[in-house]
Symmetry: C2
Subunit: 336 residues, 2 copies
Amino acid sequence: MQRREEFIIGVDIGGTNTVVGLVGPRGSLHTSTIETMSKGDPALFVNRLRREITTLQGGIPPESILKGIGIASPAANSQAGTIEDPANFSWGTVAIVNMMKKYFDIPIAITNDGNAAALGEMEFGVARGMRNFIVITLGTGVGSGIVVDRRLLFGQNGWAGELGHVIIEEAGRECGCGRAGCLETYISAPGICRTTLELLASRHEESALRNIGPRDLTAQTVCEHARNGDLIAIEAFEIAGTILGRWLANATAIFDPEAFILFGGVANAGEILLKPVRASFTKHLMNFYRGRVQLVASQLQKGHAGVLGASVLISRPEYFPSQEPSDIGSSISSTG
Amino acid sequence: MQRREEFIIGVDIGGTNTVVGLVGPRGSLHTSTIETMSKGDPALFVNRLRREITTLQGGIPPESILKGIGIASPAANSQAGTIEDPANFSWGTVAIVNMMKKYFDIPIAITNDGNAAALGEMEFGVARGMRNFIVITLGTGVGSGIVVDRRLLFGQNGWAGELGHVIIEEAGRECGCGRAGCLETYISAPGICRTTLELLASRHEESALRNIGPRDLTAQTVCEHARNGDLIAIEAFEIAGTILGRWLANATAIFDPEAFILFGGVANAGEILLKPVRASFTKHLMNFYRGRVQLVASQLQKGHAGVLGASVLISRPEYFPSQEPSDIGSSISSTG
């Protein structure tokens, strides 16, 4: 008898759009997009998500099975199966796994964006075959997915990997987490804008960025100006890259990884960011690590990475910390 | 047939003395001490160590077995079975596992002090039953043993956990590693002495510490003066504690551990150090961790902790990262 082909639904919840994908054998992928409406009613979102998944289910060949649903979300709690009041959402806490289980009698699991990115890179991206690596997500916030000996680092409550909230400067920039000086306030997209404003204040250099109101300034705009040779814009990325590079050297002393993979909107700046990151990383690295740690940008197609990573929640339970199958069951809700 | 009782030899190599212990069932322990002679010939050390082990072996009851030898050492390379040029030793690289295997046809394994301390705490100390915790070793240097989901974090080359060499201040104090601003230069025993000297330079306050030449100053002396109310000495520990507490808050964001266990000479300062560490840790911690992370000093008897921890290298192969028995064999040299 031929083995039935297995499909998995991957869901990548973002602040604006949510990508839903049907991941088939050998990573084949069919995706569609719905609006997240992060200021709306989360119950309506779950309902629209359910319909979208049902539509995608129609594309599964007869005799094949839908193995489960994996969800990547900001502020995800893997153990509770909830999304817990993400920044810039008005959802409060959403018990999304339980809500979805009413409709789908298959395993459903959730994790945060950073962990999903790491799972995607390990299964489909540049981290294939690696045992120890760290994905740094650089966007509106800064997060990470940390893989130790081919397993995700979750920590005691599932909160590990908040690299964005390592304090790098005592009494530094105010952070959304209520503290000050967090790494995120310097190297996230808004952090790069804050650095740009500081430079515009402290320098006399001419810059087209002086024509943009602080509220309208984006890291992408700063990046475009850097590509056009704007010295203030270039320096803003150099400062971010230097801070990030130093921090990756610190993370190397802690984790001894094979690679760092930069992921997300800010990482799309490419060499504008990567060049100063590499210079600072090399400068701050302990001698015996030189030449041993890769520093690369994610190669996964934008819009696919989150969905692919989320699907790995279902396809690869061995990537999770607990060895006991009973424990795996607590983070992947089992069928009724 | 009764199961034969198992004994393990634990070896704790320090800069001055090496403690050798025979660890029996239920953690029973008989120890003896030899001089390390870290400036002498390492071959002579290995020979003296062999004789000491042979003597201890005589204490094993008939019908019992010696299961293996576990070694804790500074600058240990678990994979290679070597001690690699520790600071303040004149040994160069010593292939101690292979040298010992000529005499003992049993498993022999080695790891660094931080990892051995973590193993000791997990099996015999305050970390019994914990899944995720970090031991910080505070002495001449600063290191750590990091346990993730009941397994030691080794990293790709076995170098993980060098918390002492996280850079906390750009262009900060010169460090023995060739860089500057490493955590170790502020919170190790010599780091506390450096802070004391800075305070003596910047303050007018009277202090008995002004009578001690910088070369003769030790962290223990500073600690004794702090206990006697010397304001400079108290502030030196407050500064170290504040820096350490902030760093433990950062490590919490990264690892989401159940506990930090402070271990080693500087940790023996007790509340003089722990009080400012706790205050700073609480101040810098992300809100949702409050009340969730323990901060304690090791309770293992001084002189026993290293030996007990080293013995766990042999008794608990499941604490090591690799799941495959063949991989465990590469860090624990197997019998002929």
